[in-house]
Amino acid sequence: MEKKLLHFCLNGEEMEVQVDPSASLMDVIRDDLEMTGTKAGCNTGDCGACTVILDGEAVRSCIMPALHVMDRNVETIEGIGSPDNLHPVQEEFVESSAFQCGYCTPGMIMSAKALLDKNPEPTGEDVREAIAGNLCRCTGYKKIEEAFLSAAKKVNSKSS
């Protein structure tokens, strides 16, 4: 099958990748670019494990053709923090023990970042709306919500 050249910005870096026209964004990120932080869960757009940020909005990468992001900005979990320099949301997830198996965590964190970038002072309701599409089957959502809210406080105190 003839591949197509996909040009986009991934985690702040301009990229050109040859992709199958039939590949999903999740496949290209995980398999071609070998960034496996974005998780493959249901593959049907139901679970949110594959959440990435496209032009500032949280989206499902498993039901998005890769070429759909042509010339656009994509952020993945690899782009928002590193083990030595965690994003406040990541710090608070650790602090609040907001995960057990951790499979949903990258998706949760991307949803959190998209929310905080737009709304630095979210309410509990805002948080619940932002993660309504991210399923967690072990921790439950209470600690995740707490992590979101304390991360928001941390971001605000840093920026003020």
Binding site: P21, S22, C42, D46, T51, P65, L67, E129, A132
Partner: protein, 321 residues
């Protein structure tokens, strides 16, 4: 780097051995988007999109958000070789008010509709319906026009648009024409818009004025990512405690969503009170063709139609400013 297909096949085998089943297998092949697709095009104008579809001769299909389309392609509901991605056509991205008419471009997402000040003020039924679709990540991508084309039995946004008597501009090889959203349902899951040769470019409806109010109510098992057991959209006009007119859609019934004309006749000129609203609810419950499916049986829906109709009408009346 190992070949992707090989690695993925290996992953699926390991997963199947470990768990005894494999979700990926239920999908045709192992690729998330259908294997048949070998080309992906970006038209820069509506005209170019129609030309591309024409030259693809039924082998191409429009993609905007793709949240339904990708799943349909996986299930082989459509077999096409090319996707025509209209997301680079800037003229389809606006929400506008011209005179009393609101026009929503084909690329406007559910999230944009739900958060638009204009839609909240002048067509709150649609803001609420669009804000109920799927979950935020779906609403950020899925478009209002796509919701209409998918033709689901109780599609949130389409039900609200039908109550607003919205029209869609459908552009194809034969030119463009305006069709009422209600008339775009060919049957369930099938739209009259043939996305292999046509596309919706915009959807428009009249903004609600002072004595008009609207409401959207849905009944679901969960608050997110759940299709409605029932939903209802109501648009009413009220003067001096009397209904001027009422447009109500309850879905999934009949089985294609339509404005209930009989309730419109019953309530036009009737006083706004508990009794008239209850009679309308009773009428719908007794006369609607009720759908039975995985979400609810007929008996339950029949009872609940009364509740949801009443709520929708009461909330719409309360919304009259």
């Amino acid at each position: 780097m190992k070949d992707r297909d090989e690695r993925r096949a290996c992953y699926l085998t390991v997963r199947k051995e470990a768990t005894g089943y494999c979700l990926g297998e239920n999908i045709s092949g192992i690729r998330p988007v259908n294997n048949m697709i070998n080309n992906y095009l970006f038209p820069e104008s509506t005209l170019e999109a129609v030309e591309m579809l024409k030259s693809l001769n039924g082998e191409g299909r429009i993609i905007a958000g793709g949240t339904d389309l990708v799943l349909d392609l996986r299930k082989n509901k459509f077999v096409v070789s090319s996707l025509v991605d209209i997301t680079k056509i800037d003229s389809l991205k606006n929400i506008e008010l011209t005179g009393d008419k609101i026009t929503i471009g084909a690329l406007v997402t559910h999230a944009q509709v739900a958060s638009s000040r204009l839609i909240k003020d002048k067509a709150s039924v649609l803001a609420k319906a669009a804000g109920s679709v799927g979950c935020l990540q779906i609403r950020n991508v899925g478009t209002l026009a796509g919701n209409v084309v998918s033709a689901l039995p109780a599609a949130d946004a389409a039900v609200a648009l039908i109550a607003l008597e919205a029209e869609a501009e459908v552009v194809g090889p034969g030119g463009s024409n305006f069709v009422r959203v209600e008339d775009l349902y060919e049957r369930l899951f099938t739209s009259k818009v043939d996305s292999n040769s046509q596309l919706i470019t915009k959807i428009s409806f009249n903004a609600l004025l002072g004595k008009q109010g609207s409401a959207y109510v849905r009944m679901t098992l969960r608050k997110a990512l759940a299709l409605p057991i029932l939903n209802a959209a109501a648009v009413v006009s009220v003067s001096n405690g009397t209904f001027d007119w009422v447009k109500i859609v309850v879905a999934p019934t009949n089985p294609i969503p339509t404005i209930c004309k009989e309730v419109g006749k019953m309530l036009a000129g009737a006083q706004v009170n508990n009794q008239t609203i209850s009679e309308a609810a009773e009428y719908l419950s007794n006369n609607a063709v009720i759908v039975e499916d995985i979400r609810a049986n007929k008996e339950y829906r029949k009872e609940m139609i009364k509740v949801i109709t009443k709520r929708a009408l009461e909330e719409a009346v309360a919304a009259v400013s």
